[in-house]
Symmetry: C2
Subunit: 194 residues, 2 copies
DNA sequence: GTTTGCGCCATACCGTCGGTATGGCCGACA
DNA sequence: TGTCGGCCATACCGACGGTATGGCGCAAAC
């Protein structure tokens, strides 16, 4: 199981053979197929393991006391940090939707990382810090932005610098939504630019 | 070739067999392997075809005269529309990075859709409409947000409504960056929220 | 204590599919 | 007319996901 996470991370889903997983786990395919429904089932188990690991570490950060803005920003930064881990990036962000199918992946994410982002957005809106934009689309955009930023960070030569830049940009985006609310622009003003 | 795009779109990369592609194109594997280096080469050709098709339709919209803000917003809306097309979504956005590898996918995107987003962001910054945040990360975030929003739209029951919501949210995000610049908040104000 | 049944897993095998090796067909060109 | 090379059809190989079968051990039933 742990070996499966390693192999899926290093070689991807298609590049990982079940024989190799069995060899690393010191079992045979009979045992593997007794515990999992097949290669996809094994992948979903690895997916869940990675997500659970992430969730456990993030939960305490998000649940700490403090104002909504502070905890939201810390949560975003912490999640961005998670997105840098190879296992999370490859298994959850990149191959998850392709291997599991987008619909199943979406439902799984609802219980894990996307749920975190959604509650952060919801908290910011409920406390009136950002405008009353539709919650689901905003959360989905932010989630996509985080994933896109994370993949850039990993591909960067100076990951530390890239990570800080992305973090600042994310905060600027959310701060922009806050500024937009406080200046009280109308919808028309937004679309025309004046 | 066109049949390959259809099959990769409907059944994905792993679910598409070369025999099926050959049958649809009325050729044999000998012919296929004469023109393409293999399954991955075939996928990359399909990828290029889809991207070229997209680029041709978007170029005229972006290149039309008008102020930077207007054309940028129209470009974002138009690209969002492209993201709704099944072929683009599955081949370019979802399976591209997995099949081609993230590094090759990133380089290809640089010539196509990500290039468009990057020039839009660059234009907004150069004309002073949004603050001087680092360009590459901002473009990467916006690109991820667009992709995330598009996948949500496709999964929605009411795609038209979802598309309009996402469009408004995207504009709000960029408008927020504009408001942030005009109110002149400092970095410290951003991170502390006051 | 024996038997029956079941959970657990090892082994051998099959079907599919990506990829290759071989050779035939046909036009260009000397 | 001989031959050389681009183009492609056919037959085949190896790898891999998945399955069928059976053995082993343990616990409940009697």
């Amino acid at each position: 199981m742990n070996g499966a996470v390693v192999l899926f991370t290093e070689r991807g889903y298609a590049g990982t053979s079940l024989d190799e997983v069995c060899k690393r786990a010191r079992v045979t395919k009979g045992a593997l197929y007794h515990h999992f429904s097949g290669k996809q089932g094994l992948f979903e188990a690895a997916f869940d393991a990675v997500e659970q690991d992430m969730l456990g570490r993030l939960a305490e950060i998000v649940s700490q006391p403090g104002d909504v803005w502070q905890t939201s920003m810390e949560g975003l930064r912490a999640y961005l940090q998670v997105c840098l881990e190879p296992a999370y990036q490859r298994i959850v962000l990149h191959e998850g939707p392709v291997v599991m199918g987008y619909e199943a992946w979406k439902q799984a994410e609802e219980r894990f990382s996307f749920g975190l982002v959604r509650t952060a957005v919801s908290g910011l809106m409920d406390s009136g810090l950002i405008g009353e934009l539709p919650e689901e689309p905003m959360a989905r955009l932010l989630f996509g932005a985080l994933a896109g930023g994370a993949t850039m960070i990993v591909a960067a030569e100076d990951q530390k610098k890239a990570s800080e830049e992305i973090g600042r940009c994310i905060e600027s985006v959310v701060a922009g939504l806050r500024a937009l609310k406080e200046t009280g622009w109308t919808d028309r003003a937004v679309t025309t630019g004046q």
